[in-house]
Symmetry: C2
Amino acid sequence: MAKIARRDQDYSQWYVDIVTRAEMADYAPVKGCMVIRPWGYAIWERMQRALDDMFKATGHQNAYFPLLIPQSFLQKEAEHVEGFAPECAVVTRGGGKELEEPLVIRPTSETIIWAMYKKWIQSWRDLPLLYNQWANVVRWEMRTRLFLRTTEFLWQEGHTAHATAGEAVEEAERMLGVYKRFVEDWMAMPVLTGKKTDAEKFAGAVTTYSVEALMQDNRALQAGTSHYLGQNFARAFDVQFQNRAGELEYVYATSWGVSSRLVGALVMSHSDDAGLVLPPKLAPLEVVIVPILKADADNSAILTAAARLAEPLQDHVRVKVDDRDNVSPGWKFNEWELKGVPIRIEIGPKDLEKGQVVVVRRDTREKTPVPQGEVPVHVADLLPEMQQALYDRAKERLEAGCRPADTYDDFKKILEEQGGFVYAPWCGNAECEARVQEETKATIRCIPDEVEAAGACMICGNGPAQRVPFAKAY
Amino acid sequence: MAKIARRDQDYSQWYVDIVTRAEMADYAPVKGCMVIRPWGYAIWERMQRALDDMFKATGHQNAYFPLLIPQSFLQKEAEHVEGFAPECAVVTRGGGKELEEPLVIRPTSETIIWAMYKKWIQSWRDLPLLYNQWANVVRWEMRTRLFLRTTEFLWQEGHTAHATAGEAVEEAERMLGVYKRFVEDWMAMPVLTGKKTDAEKFAGAVTTYSVEALMQDNRALQAGTSHYLGQNFARAFDVQFQNRAGELEYVYATSWGVSSRLVGALVMSHSDDAGLVLPPKLAPLEVVIVPILKADADNSAILTAAARLAEPLQDHVRVKVDDRDNVSPGWKFNEWELKGVPIRIEIGPKDLEKGQVVVVRRDTREKTPVPQGEVPVHVADLLPEMQQALYDRAKERLEAGCRPADTYDDFKKILEEQGGFVYAPWCGNAECEARVQEETKATIRCIPDEVEAAGACMICGNGPAQRVPFAKAY
């Protein structure tokens, strides 16, 4: 196998090499679209299952709304159409005829969902509606990158309807918390959380909250967003309800989503020059057992030992014995490292004699001889240890990647030389924010709940200013 | 609540009433599209989980291929384009510009998948590929019906690639078996299985196999299909592999799918004039406990008893206590009957005195007093008993619905008066088949593995003929 690019030489190529060579995804014939191959899809499935359980545990139900939305629906919310119309794929023919009204493929489903909520909501008794859907969406993208930015992507979108603003804000914040918990506990990716600035928020939202992670090249990645939509969509689709006082009132809304880009974020967070590194909780396989077979020899004792080793693991762990006889053990080691399987267990004739195996952990590539009988306990201990170790390393990296800057010159220097989140003083003015973006490509990633007061804005010099994290982002 | 239509008076309205009033689905603003509401989606989710487990147990992996397919791809397989092009939704604009080549929204994914298989298959070592995807597809439909026939629907589509024809045929037959097992064991819907005639097979297939069920109005419903595609798509997309003998050969293919129409089939199989009847295995809730609360009274003892009753069930059974205080017990009974929850447990003050509850099974609506302590055992026994009873009743109905006819006059009489599967002699000629369809709307549903020889074709009088099941179908 040809080597993959090195992280420190060509980060971007390194990422693409891992995604394609680990057979996670491939380019589709339609520009900007991707094919998610079984290894990548299995990771996404594990993410889906974990998130879905968390959504259901917080009282949400799944539903499914149509792919096709009348173009006029998008135009009902002024900011929304401005944000999404330029990115839409438009169906103009169906069943061999020109359509009277073109249909857009959903770029997000607020409009079609609120058109339906109008039918279903009359009274406060009908509220809240706590719905989620797993779906594909299409946003026409010019510059695409496997998983991170593609014309079609997979996601979930929660859409909730509430009787009060307070309850809706609480919901938006609750789901931000769910995302933070998922990303940290399952993906081992520590994040910053906070509110987006007006310039960065979702088209149609009152408030957008986000979770922001830091990749190994010190660029930020928005891993999920949760929006308090106020009454914007209820007004656009005339969804009123009778409140407890008997008065008609517009319904309060939230929406929130994460997408298959999380798979890309996972790759960029933990992987190394040998390939993918996966946190055990999301690995399609946690353990691969590789019997060291010899060509033209009787390998039956080794194969039996490998199968016996797998047996007690099978109930608790996703395990596979790689007993292929058409590739060498070394080839298998490389392949499973490339694919990021957390634990490899090697068992050869010498190990058999000694009644041991060699356990190799993917993250540190450390090798440990372990007596055969202790393998189940060793594996049971090692998997959560690795999950934690990946988180700890990422946390250290995130903390090291957060740096203060007081002046714009300092800011640009740090951004250029080190990247990461640069905490710099900002007055709150959209013009200062825009200037920074224009000149440095860095954006304010979020305004954390607790911000440090800082004398004067690094751009306009006016105060009072707050210290907020800027970064270049994916 | 207004009553739903009666089955024997207006079957079609009865069906729509159940689907909409049980809040399984609703009409979307785009003609022919539907919204799957949480109760309907939860049933689909249970189907998905069961099928997905069966696919994985037979060695399949999930992947995801793009929604959008270049129009030219469809044209590469002559029969395929003829079958699907008239039904396509076509994207002609994207990102604000006219597209150079229009894209169709997948009506099925053979073409895009075989375009990718060309990249991934070189040698017999790369085979078989056993992939499945869960996806939405769009086929422009004129006459639609919730779940049964909609412009957009949800489905799974398996697409496999093999080195030999024999292996591919075996795969197509294996998946037919999986479908039969799923439909019978989970949906409690007995089926006929067999091959489609040339006129009825999938556009691009060599052989189409199907599972065929019988609804309560004695119309047939195709519940799933599995296709042996031969080398048709490999030729169309030039997918050759080096076989073990070192020669280049086109790859052999299958595809197979079931869709969200199964939810409609489920409704029509078991339900009654009180609403939905669900087999326990697919019910989102298996047991609902309804405490009989009194207005303006202290209901705490009853509520406590209801909660205590639920506790030991929770680990094994999907159970809910309906403790709403703004609707009457009678209203709740109706609602849960309408929604098809298999077991209702009522507990009121008198039951409390006697240390008992009343268990009501949804299918027979039979009421049984059960001592409180015996509820877990009673429920654990009753659920599989009900699953079996639903199957047995449907099986009896299917058997009664299979009738022989020897002459075309007999055939038409039975079809008109009784419906069901009419087993009539057919010579194998497509013209005779077409004439029957034209004159009676009945089609040959499948050619079973074992067919009875029958002297002469009921249409042309030529022999030898075989007795095959005709029916009017959804």
